[in-house]
C-alpha cells in the first residue's frame, strides 16, 4: 500500500481540506468544465488556489447553501462539472432536500465538498460540527460518498470524483492530521484498502481516524497480542461489500471507527451488510447520540470516545465477544 511508517513520530501534519484544494486545481486544468462554486468560505474550504488558477471557472455566490446546490444542478445540466463547497453542516446539512431532488433524483453531475466535518472542527462548537452528514447522504439513491483518510488521499479522491460521472459527496476536515499515505498508495472509489494485516479483529475505519485505528492496532499487538486487520473504508457508498464480508470471515469480529454519530453512519452500513451476509460481533466507535461542543480537536476526539485508547478498548471487547 506504500504507506509511510505511521509509528514514526515525525509524520507531516496537513489538513485534509488542503488535499481538496490541490486536487481541485489539477481537476480544473484537466477539464475546463470543472467549476468551483463558493458560498463565502473560499479560504477555509481551500477554494483560494482554484480561484487564482482558474478565475473563469470560479463562482462566488455568498451565504446561500440551498442556491449552491440548485445553481450547480443547472450548471451540470448544461455540461459543467461543478464542485460546491461549504461546511458540511450547511451543505449538505442545510441543503438536503435540494441535494435529494436536484442532484440525485434529477441525476446531475454535481460534487459536494463537505468541509469542517466532525467534532475535530474544534472551538467553533456544536453548531458547526457535522456528525450526521454521512447518514443523510448515504441514504440517498445514486449518491457516492467518500471519506478519505489524509490530505494525499483527499487529493486523489477529488480527482477521481471529478473524472467520474454522478452526484457525489466528499467529506473532509479542518484540522491538521497525519499524512501516512503516499503518491504511490493506490486509490479507487468503491475499493476498500487493507492498511494492516491481522486475523483477530478487523478495524474498519474512515476519515482521519484511520490513523488512530492504525495506532490502536499497533498498541494491541504490542500489549495484548491481538492482531488487527485495519481496513481503510473510504467509500461509504457504494461500500465495498466484498471487503467487509472478507474482513468478517477472516477475523470473526469487527470494530467500526468514524468521526460521526454511531447512528446511521459508516459503521451502521457495515452492520447492515454483515447482518445479512456474515453476522459477527460488531463494536462501534463514534459519537454516542449526542452533540459536540467547543474545545481542542484532540481533546474532543478523546472526550467523545474516538481516541486511540477507545479504539483499543472496543477491539478488546470485540475480541472477547468473539471468543465466547
Amino acid at each position: 500500500m506504500h504507506l509511510l511508517d505511521y509509528r514514526a513520530g515525525d509524520l507531516k501534519q496537513v489538513p485534509t481540506r488542503n488535499g481538496f484544494g490541490e486536487g481541485l486545481i489539477e481537476a480544473g486544468t484537466l477539464d475546463r468544465n470543472v467549476l468551483g462554486i463558493c458560498a463565502d468560505l473560499s479560504e477555509s474550504t481551500r477554494f483560494e488556489g482554484f480561484k487564482k488558477a482558474h478565475p473563469d471557472q470560479y463562482i462566488e455566490i455568498g451565504v446561500s447553501e440551498q442556491l449552491l446546490v440548485a445553481m450547480a444542478g443547472g450548471l451540470a445540466s448544461v455540461g459543467k462539472i461543478p464542485w460546491i463547497a461549504s461546511y458540511a453542516m450547511f451543505n449538505p446539512g442545510r441543503s438536503w432536500e435540494q441535494v435529494r431532488t436536484i442532484m440525485a433524483l434529477n441525476e446531475t453531475n454535481v460534487k459536494i465538498a463537505g468541509a469542517h466535518a466532525g467534532v475535530s472542527v474544534g472551538p467553533d462548537g456544536a453548531t458547526h460540527q457535522a456528525i450526521e452528514d454521512i447518514a443523510i447522504m448515504r441514504v440517498i439513491p445514486h449518491m457516492t460518498v467518500v471519506v478519505p483518510c489524509d490530505s494525499v488521499q483527499t487529493k486523489k479522491a477529488t480527482l477521481a470524483l471529478s473524472a467520474r460521472w454522478g452526484p457525489a459527496y466528499l467529506r473532509f476536515g479542518r484540522e491538521k492530521s497525519a499524512v501516512f499515505t503516499t503518491d504511490e498508495t493506490p486509490f479507487e472509489i468503491g475499493k476498500a484498502q487493507i492498511f494492516r494485516e491481522g486475523s483477530d479483529v478487523a478495524i474498519v475505519a474512515c476519515g482521519i481516524l484511520v490513523y488512530n485505528a492504525l495506532l490502536a492496532a499497533d498498541a494491541l499487538s504490542r500489549n495484548d497480542g491481538i492482531e488487527c486487520r485495519v481496513v481503510n473504508n473510504h467509500t461509504v457508498k457504494p461500500m465495498d461489500e466484498a471487503a467487509i464480508v472478507d474482513a468478517a470471515e477472516r477475523c470473526g469480529t469487527i470494530v467500526t471507527v468514524e468521526e460521526h454519530q454511531k447512528h446511521a453512519g459508516m459503521g451502521s452500513r457495515v452492520a447492515e451488510i454483515l447482518a445479512q451476509r456474515r453476522p459477527v460481533p460488531i463494536e462501534f466507535v463514534g459519537v454516542e447520540d449526542t452533540f459536540g461542543q467547543s474545545g481542542d480537536p484532540v481533546e474532543l476526539i478523546e472526550y467523545y470516545g474516538m481516541g486511540v485508547s477507545a479504539i483499543e478498548e472496543a477491539a478488546r471487547r470485540a475480541y472477547a465477544r468473539k471468543s465466547k
Binding site: 473563469d56 463562482i59 455566490i61 455568498g62 446561500s64 440551498q66 442556491l67 440548485a70 445553481m71 450547480a72 444542478g73 443547472g74 450548471l75 451540470a76 445540466s77 448544461v78 455540461g79 459543467k80 461543478p82 432536500e97 435540494q98 431532488t101 436536484i102 433524483l105 434529477n106 441525476e107
Partner: protein, 285 residues
C-alpha cells in the same frame, strides 16, 4: 422570433384551448392533481411552445434549444398537455398522468420524460437552476435563453430570492422568469397567507427588469415577452396576471380548485364549455 400574425394568434388560441382540454382529460383520468394553475397557464404555455421558445419536439436534447423550466412542478398537467399538443408525444399518453409506470409523474421528472428540463415539485427551486443554466450558457457563449415559469406562492421561499439576487449579480440577460400571478395558494389568497405585494417593486429593487401583463391574453403576453427578451445586461421577470381556473367558468377565481381534479360530471361540463369556446375562436377567424 418572427412576428405573430393574426392567423398565428388564432392558432395559438386554438392550441391553448386544446391544452386546456388535455388538462381536464388527464386530471379526470388521474383522479388527483391540480386544476386551477394548469388552466390559468395554458395561454402562456401555448405562447411559449407555439411561438416564443426555440425548440424541436423531435429532438428534445438539441443542445441549442431554449431551456423552459417549470419551477412549480405541481402545475405539470399544463406542461404535459402543451408538450403533447406541440408534438413531443401522443396526446393519448396524457391519460396516463399520475398512473403507475407513467412518464407523466405527479410532479415532473427530467430523467423520465425527454423535454422536461428539470425535476420539480419542491417549490422555490426552479429559478436557482435556471440561474445555473443561464450562467453556463454565458460561459460557453451559447445563445439559448432560459425561461423559468414560477408560481406566485413560491415567492414565499427563501431560495427563490437567493436566485433573484444571483441573477442580478451576474447580469443574466439570457434569463426570463414568468410569474403565474393568480393570487391563490392551497390555504387561500397569497395576500392572506403571506403577502407578496408589492411584487414588482421587490424585483425592481433586486435589479431585475420587470414587466407585467395579462397572462390570459396571448397577444399581450407575446408582445411583453418580446420586449423582455430584448433587455440587455439584466434578467427579466414577466408578472403574468392570470385568473385561476381560466376557461372553465365554475373554477375561475375559486382557490379551492388549486389542488383538486374535476369529477366526471364536472369534467364533462368543462369540456363542453371548452369545445364551445373553441368553436368561437375558429368562427372568429
Amino acid at each position: 422570433m418572427p412576428t405573430l400574425t393574426s392567423q398565428g394568434l388564432t392558432e395559438l388560441k386554438l392550441k391553448a384551448n386544446d391544452v386546456r382540454q388535455g388538462i381536464i382529460r388527464s386530471l379526470l383520468s388521474a383522479g388527483s392533481g391540480h386544476s386551477a394553475g394548469p388552466l390559468d397557464m395554458s395561454d402562456v404555455f401555448a405562447a411559449l411552445y407555439g411561438h416564443l421558445i426555440r425548440h424541436d419536439p423531435k429532438d428534445p436534447q438539441w443542445p441549442d434549444r431554449d431551456r423552459l423550466l417549470l419551477s412549480c412542478g405541481h402545475i405539470a398537467p399544463v406542461r404535459y398537455s402543451a408538450m403533447a399538443n406541440f408534438g413531443y408525444f401522443p396526446v393519448e399518453e396524457l391519460l396516463t398522468l399520475r398512473k403507475f409506470g407513467t412518464r407523466l409523474q405527479g410532479h415532473p421528472e427530467r430523467v423520465r420524460l425527454p423535454g422536461v428540463e428539470t425535476t420539480s415539485g419542491p417549490l422555490g427551486e426552479g429559478l436557482a437552476q435556471g440561474v445555473g443554466m443561464a450562467y453556463g450558457a454565458k460561459l460557453d457563449a451559447k445563445q439559448f435563453r432560459v425561461w423559468v415559469v414560477t408560481s406566485d406562492a413560491e415567492h414565499q421561499c427563501g431560495l427563490h430570492w437567493e436566485a433573484v439576487l444571483t441573477g442580478a449579480k451576474f447580469h443574466l440577460d439570457n434569463l426570463t422568469a414568468i410569474v403565474d400571478r393568480n393570487f391563490i395558494q392551497i390555504d387561500g389568497s397569497t395576500e392572506d397567507v403571506m403577502p407578496l405585494e408589492p411584487l414588482a417593486e421587490k424585483y425592481r429593487s433586486f435589479n431585475w427588469e420587470v414587466f407585467e401583463c395579462d397572462g390570459n391574453d396571448i397577444a399581450q403576453f407575446v408582445e411583453t415577452a418580446e420586449r423582455a427578451t430584448a433587455v440587455k445586461d439584466k434578467p427579466q421577470v414577466i408578472i403574468a396576471n392570470t385568473v385561476p381556473g381560466k376557461g372553465v367558468s365554475f373554477m375561475e377565481g375559486d382557490y379551492t380548485w388549486h389542488g383538486k381534479p374535476p369529477n366526471a360530471q364536472q369534467a364533462e361540463e368543462a369540456l363542453s364549455e371548452l369545445a364551445q369556446a373553441r368553436q368561437g375562436i375558429a368562427a372568429h377567424e
